[in-house]
Amino acid sequence: MNHILTYMTFIPIAGMLIVLSLPSKAHNLIRGVATAVTVPPLLMAIWLFVKFDRTQAGFQYVEQYPWISSFNIEYFVGVDGISITMVLLTALLALICMVASFGIEKAVKGYFALFLLLDGAMMGVFVALDFFLFYIFWELMLLPMYFLIGIWGGPRREYAAIKFFLYTMAGSVLMLLAMLVMYFAATPHTFDMTKLMALHGAIPYATAIWIALFIGFAIKIPAFPFHTWLPDAHVEAPTAISVILAGILLKMGTYGILRINFGILPQETAQLSYYFLGALGTFNIVYGALCAMAQKDLKKLVAYSSISHMGYVMLGMASFTPQGIQGAVLQMFNHGTVTAMLFLLVGVIYDRAHHRDIEGFGGLASIMPVYTGVTGLAFFAAMGLPGLSAFISEVLVLLGAWQRYPVLTAISASAVVLTAGYMLWTLQRMFLGKANEKYLTLPEIGPRELFTLVPLGVIVLILGVYPHAVLDLMSASLNSLNQLVLSQQIALQ
């Protein structure tokens, strides 16, 4: 299992080639093959979860080969405590989203081929340790995503797809510039992240590089004011793609900041985090919650709630306390599972009623009790109800941030009320009250849909009472990263 990360990245890409070679009329065969292809990476992810050495802060399962020697570009992959959580999430959501995509009827072959390419690229982003390789995978996600939203999306798909494409491209060219400046400014010239980390921030132009990288990542998170692509993209994308967008792509922004801004430029991180991560994160929390409250479209509501929840991740990262930063990464994982559930649930009701207007339902609890139960679980988890996973991570973030930014934390904590407000209000409007005459015959949630939701629900429940399952994975790596930034901050003072 020395090449496990390579397998996890390239099995989906190989699967794409297999899918492309299948006859395009054989829809069920294509669906089956594409789903089967995502099983081995998930099994490997579980194996990694079991075998991962939780006491070690450094990178494990490292593979390193020269690729383009004239620029010292390497094929260099590995996982540490931060990336392994994301690798787990990616492998899990890939399988779930394949199953959730069975309803796709239009150009089935193209859909699953692109989805598998996207899957491989996402995995690649999280395991890459060479900045150039990271950038290639980062950009590789754009093309399949553009087509997946643009071809299989809703009525305004063309607009949403190109908006997503342009925003992300603008961010990533900034990242490309920052990467090249860093390459030439660092001695020795290298894209190797571990070597860049070993320089401890002794890189000229570090502030400019930090800000350019931050903008590139902030577009992906998405942090205000770069967030406007998200509601469009999420609403227009097909269900499974919304899940991937919210569950994984958004995490890449915060992951990139942790991996590159924190790891390579700790001094600038210490200087700039208050404004760029702390204040902006708090703004995201409140702004996202207020926007969500105003939505009439259920999917748009979930999209804005994502903006709000990602704000907690930013706030926690900015706190430089062990609780805050662990809470942030745990929140990344939890938001991945909870939002995935929310989008899947939106997809379930949309498939039946063909609209997502919150006001257009009512009394669904009596018509679809099981669906209502699962939705309740997801909504309560998103709200941060104690006993469910997101509660732990939000509390950790707020505890950690309180020690450093009491005002921001107070504002963020009070926004929890807003979250509870729009979630409960939505639950009330959709599920309680008198049943809508039109929907009395809506069929209950089916076994395939439950198959996609139950594993996520189980994770939400387990992590609500036993967060150490994930926290233990990352604590060593995060603490050492936190120490690195803290030491810079102390040196500054």
Partner: protein, 489 residues
């Protein structure tokens, strides 16, 4: 080493083969039985010439024909590109529905144009440079106006001719200033005069600016780009492809040879400008060119015309490598020529396939192309266009990566920033074509588009090369590195 004329002949074997091919094509055109085979003959001739060029690759550098022409790795590199461009163009022409009559003239002139490009890349004397550039221009005018019954084609040829006349007149005027200042037309002697003697800076600057006009016109750089959109739109599609790749590469080859070995001094890795500061002039040209190209491309509705503006924008990108005065910059330019060849010929090839099937060149004619018959042309065009945008893992990204790396290495951060902003702008219009092909659906009255074996073979080879070079490009960059050697005596 300067070779006598007799010895020089061996080194000009590739050129000799082209001359024989031209004559053979013209003669064959007169005979009724061989008339239909002139395209294949031209193809074989250029292929032979390509072989001859590569077989000369290991010969040491030399002056030929009384120092008019030079043989060095740099010229070999470009001759290979010209030969490949001519091969692809002939290959396209064989299946083009535009090329139906007067085939002898057409293929003869095409090969003649290639011959002119060979000399452009190898000339080491102002006179030779001017003559070869004019030779390429003259043949191109006729090829552009080849569609006699199409008014656009005639108009394009006339515009091309007038712009070309002005530009080359300006250029030869500039050359006369340089000759007057240095007393020589030989690149190496110009260099030694500029190194050792004091010349009037202002006069030299004027000479350089005027010469740059002629070369800027060939590579389609602003403000000498006005001819490009009309010519590309009016010319037969294979010729537009040929001009966009071959002619541009020839212009860059001459530009590099004239400005580096003649007007600069190598300091091993970086270059020192002699006399006037033309590098900052080209810096402005580069930014203006890419911005004009990209902004104007945004509003085009004809795909050929859009590709023309994109070709202007790409001239701007390539010029970025020119301003940094380093070997890395030149190497990046040479590498970019290779990837530009792949993706631009590919894009024009798909334009031709679609035009053959539907007779349409406007972007609206591509509506739902992916869902009409085979998706192959749409997929291929998407790959070429995204490569032109510079998205990994495609070759265009690697080309841009090297250009930006060279620019950032020499700390031209503003230029790099303008370059990447332009890349984002270009995404919009390239993606608009992809949107029309994939995201819009056919309305049912469009003709289906299928690809035959010959065109498919070229299309998929270019596609495969675009993808493969995007993932593993070490051999090509090594080749560009080895070829970046000017013979200076």
């Amino acid at each position: 080493m300067s070779l006598s004329s007799l010895q020089s002949l061996w080194y000009t074997l590739p050129e000799a083969i082209l001359v024989v091919t031209i004559l053979a094509v013209f003669i064959a055109d007169l005979l009724p039985r061989s008339k239909d085979w002139v395209g294949e003959m031209a193809l074989a001739g250029v292929a032979l010439s390509l072989l001859a060029t590569t077989s000369l690759a290991d010969e040491p550098g030399a002056w030929l024909f009384g120092r008019m022409v030079v043989h060095d790795p740099f010229t070999i590199f470009f001759k290979v590109i010209f030969a490949l461009a001519a091969l692809a163009t002939i290959w396209m022409s064989l299946g083009s529905k535009e090329i139906t009559s007067n085939k002898g003239e057409y293929y003869g002139l095409l090969v003649a144009s290639t011959l002119g490009m060979y000399f452009m890349s190898s000339s080491s004397n102002l006179l030779m440079a001017y003559l070869s550039l004019e030779f390429v221009s003259l043949t191109s005018y006729v090829l552009t106006g080849y569609l006699r019954h199409d008014r656009r084609s005639g108009e394009a040829a006339l515009k091309y001719l007038i712009y070309g006349g002005v530009a080359s007149g300006t250029m030869i005027y500039g050359m006369s200033w340089i000759f007057g200042l240095t007393g020589s037309m030989d690149f190496a002697q110009i260099n030694s005069v500029l190194t050792h003697a004091q010349v009037n800076q202002l006069a030299l600057f004027i000479g350089i600016v005027l010469t740059l006009a002629g070369l800027g016109y060939k590579v389609a750089a602003a403000p000498f780009h006005m001819w490009v959109p009309d010519v590309y739109t009016g010319a037969p599609i294979p010729i537009a492809a040929f001009l966009s790749v071959g002619s541009k590469a020839a212009g860059f080859a001459l530009l590099m040879r004239f400005f580096y070995p003649a007007l600069s001094h190598s300091l091993g890795g970086t270059w020192n400008v002699l006399g006037a500061d033309w590098a900052s002039l080209v810096l402005v040209l580069s930014m203006v060119t890419m911005t004009i190209g990209n902004l104007t491309a945004l509003s085009q509705s004809n795909l050929k015309r859009m590709l023309a503006y994109s070709s202007i924008a790409h001239a701007g990108y390539i010029l970025m490598g020119f301003v940094v005065l380093s070997d890395e910059g030149l190497r990046a330019m040479m590498f970019y020529m290779v990837v530009y060849y792949l993706m631009n010929i590919g894009a024009f090839l798909v334009v031709m396939i679609v035009a053959n099937a539907t007779g349409r060149e406007d972007i609206e004619g591509y509506r739902g192309l992916a869902w009409r018959g085979g998706a192959a042309p749409a997929v291929a065009l998407a790959i070429f266009l995204f490569s032109l945008t510079g998205l990994p893992p495609l070759a265009g990204f690697v080309g841009k990566f090297y250009l930006f790396a060279a620019v950032i290495r020499q700390e031209f951060y503003f230029l790099a920033l303008v370059g990447v902003i332009n890349s984002v702008i270009s995404l919009y219009y390239y993606a608009a074509v992809v949107r029309t092909m994939f995201l819009d659906f056919p309305q049912g009255d469009e003709a289906p588009v299928t690809v035959n074996v010959r065109e498919g073979a070229l299309m998929w080879s270019l596609c495969a090369a675009t993808v493969v070079l995007g993932v593993y490009w070490a051999p090509v960059i090594a080749l560009a590195d080895r070829s970046l050697r000017f013979f200076t005596g």
